[in-house]
């Protein structure tokens, strides 16, 4: 068990990601925030200034700038995707997650016919972009199981991405060859001192192995990665600034690849875990605006963890990609479930309802970003980059 005091020698956060040099500064004055808002080459200082600006004064101007930039880079489109939980078996011990090994859940795994049924149900809802999820590796849901799921999904959907356990480069390569185009992996918290407190046992305790997984995915030939921090675990400024730096470092080196950012915020789960550093709606909105302003060309994602009113307000105002009609229970698309899934879905609206809301706000829901027909022409190696 790592000690709880800040021990420099065990602080394994790389210099390229370490947010500490920008923390502890005085709150920015009006001149600094105005300059940050208009900055056309935003950096860490810009991000911190925007994240720490007084929301009573600056939340609206930040929102306007975020909306202008979202429109500039993405038009009025909102990409829609759906998550498919293949299995809730999990060997992990994350204190905040409903699938942790010591949580009482009915453990299920979709077999091939179930996966086909689920995917067909999702396709009928209109989806072309699907995110396959599993927990930490277990014999029930191991790499081969995930790979089979990817192959199956890739035969039916134009975009298949995966959110699962950290893998080896060769495993990522196999996923890419099977038709997976992206991997989402959240560091949860970038604070290496706090990290072990939330991850009680198993492979997920390997902070550095997880941190380097996105790079292994890119080297293995995946077109893009999705990053994020689980807001509420640690100091939000620490984690979001580290996340910002992580994205920037990777996309400077892997400049052919795409990088999206998600904003998972701790929600109630079956084990009753309470967030040590809860993030309010206003702060989450401010963080999203800061990311849009400082990473104007990156896709920013908001899932059904968040409530309808919040999602409606952020759509097109920073956020350009959302899930809809999500089921976080196993087999939830083709039949209703009694358990609570990985987290409680806050926005339970149907896909039609979400699309109607988006159109009502002058936004354009899109289910397909690009056509898989192009993808088959190139071998994964041709799509990779040199780091």
């Amino acid at each position: 068990m790592k000690n709880d005091t800040l021990d420099e020698s065990s602080f394994c956060l790389p210099e390229t990601i370490d947010p500490r040099p920008w923390l502890g500064r005085p709150k920015p004055d009006a001149r600094a925030v105005a300059a940050a808002l208009a900055c056309d080459a935003p950096d860490e200082a810009t991000f911190v200034t925007l994240a720490q600006a007084d929301p009573d004064v600056w939340l609206e101007p930040l929102a306007r700038r975020a909306q202008a930039l979202t429109r500039h880079h993405f038009g009025r489109t909102i990409q829609l995707y759906a998550p498919l939980y293949l299995s809730n078996y999990c060997s992990g011990g994350c204190v905040y997650c409903g699938f942790a090994a010591d949580r009482h859940q009915t453990r299920l795994r979709l077999e091939r016919p179930d996966i086909e049924r689920e995917l067909a149900a999702m396709k009928r809802l209109g989806f072309e972009q699907v995110l396959l999820l599993t927990g930490e590796r277990t014999p029930h849901a191991d790499f081969d199981y995930l790979l089979d799921g990817v192959r199956l999904a890739a035969s039916m959907f134009h975009e298949v991405t995966v959110e699962a356990f950290p893998m080896k480069t060769e495993e990522y390569r196999a996923l890419a060859e099977a038709g997976c185009v992206g991997v989402t992996i959240y560091q949860e918290t970038y604070d290496p001192v706090a990290y072990p407190n939330f991850h009680r046992w198993g492979p997920k305790r390997d902070y550095t192995g997880r941190l380097n997984a996105p790079e292994r995915a890119l080297v293995g030939g995946l077109c893009g990665v999705g990053l994020g921090a689980l807001l509420g675990l640690s100091d939000p400024l620490f984690d979001t600034l580290a996340l910002f730096r992580h994205v920037r470092d990777l996309q400077c080196r892997y400049w052919r690849s795409s990088f999206s950012v998600s904003f998972p915020r701790l929600r109630p789960e079956v084990g009753g875990f309470q967030a040590p550093n809860p993030v309010s709606d206003r702060l989450l909105a401010q963080i999203i605006f800061a990311f849009r302003i400082c990473l104007p060309e990156n896709t920013l994602v908001l899932s059904t963890r968040e409530a309808p009113a919040f999602r409606d307000g952020l759509a097109g105002v920073g956020i350009n990609r959302m899930s809809a009609g999500s089921r976080t229970t196993i087999g939830g698309y083709s039949h209703a479930a009694e358990d609570e899934g990985q987290f409680v879905v806050s926005d339970g609206r149907s896909v039609e309802e979400v699309c109607a809301m988006l159109r009502g706000r002058g936004l354009d829901p899109v289910f397909k970003n690009w056509d898989a027909a192009f993808r088959d022409v190139l071998a994964p190696e041709a799509r990779t980059c040199c780091g």
Partner: protein, 258 residues
């Protein structure tokens, strides 16, 4: 100890003004212009030896200047092979590890050939040269050259000798934002203010030739460029104020968060 050194490969410089030696009326004026500019990297080209045109009066003063490093360019080459050969020839003459890869097959507009430039740069970088490729202001080409080991990229501001300034400024901004190696604006600068503007937008240095050589008083113009480059760099480091933001009307976006 210079905390704002310009680093190409493993070589460190304090001046962000690079100077070309072409088009001067005579070698003496050229040498005084180099001295006045404070430039530490100076380009030279290759030509055939001609016993009727003495050549050492051009090179001797340059090679005698302390703190000046010669950077041979491959001007005249039309292919990667010719450029690589030119680099080898240049190394025979001065032993410099620097090479400016300059390949412009079209003699009318002198636009650099991206494919030959990339191929030559990749080979020369692999061979240990400090490669400084002259390129169109293409952000993807710049990253590919960075990947193969170039010490910098030198995107053009506008066509050689045209004096059109930073016609490529929007592309330069993208290149600067994405680059992990120094970006040196080369070609097309006419006035010191344009050099300052290049540094203000984040470029690491500029290379100037015609603007100095064709001035009425080249050494004075060279000194003016040196001041402009220093001012532009200092302004960039000091943090330029933002340009005015667009005004927006209509209803509040964050009312739902109250």
């Amino acid at each position: 100890m210079n905390d704002d050194a310009l680093i190409f490969g493993d070589q460190s410089f304090s001046s962000r003004l690079l100077l070309g030696t072409g088009k001067f009326s005579d070698a003496e004026v050229m040498a005084r212009a180099v001295a006045a500019s404070g430039a530490q990297l100076v380009t030279v080209a290759l030509r055939r030896f001609d016993r009727d045109r003495p050549h050492d009066t051009l090179l001797a003063p340059l090679m005698a200047m302390r703190g000046v490093t010669l950077m041979p360019n491959t001007s005249g080459a039309r292919t990667a092979e010719e450029a690589i050969q030119a680099a080898r020839i240049a190394r025979e003459l001065c032993g410099s590890r620097f090479v400016k890869v300059e390949i412009h097959p079209n003699p009318r507009h002198l636009m650099p050939d991206p494919i030959e430039t990339f191929n030559a740069s990749r080979a020369l970088a692999a061979d240990g040269w400090i490669v400084m490729p002259y390129i169109p202001a293409d952000p993807v080409l710049a990253k590919r050259l960075e990947e193969v080991g170039c010490a910098s990229v030198m995107p053009l501001g506008s066509a050689i000798g045209s004096g059109q300034g930073l016609a490529t400024s929007e592309m330069l901004k993208i290149i600067v934002r994405e680059s992990r190696i120094p970006v040196v604006v080369d070609a097309g600068l006419r006035a010191p203010s344009q050099a300052a503007a290049a540094l203000e937008l984040g470029c690491s240095a500029v290379l100037v030739n015609t603007a100095v050589a064709a001035a009425d008083d080249p050494p004075a113009m060279a000194a003016a460029f040196a001041q402009a480059v220093a001012a532009g760099r200092q302004a960039w480091r000091a943090g330029l104020m933002a340009a005015a933001d667009e005004a927006q009307a209509s209803s509040p976006l964050t009312a739902f968060l109250k």
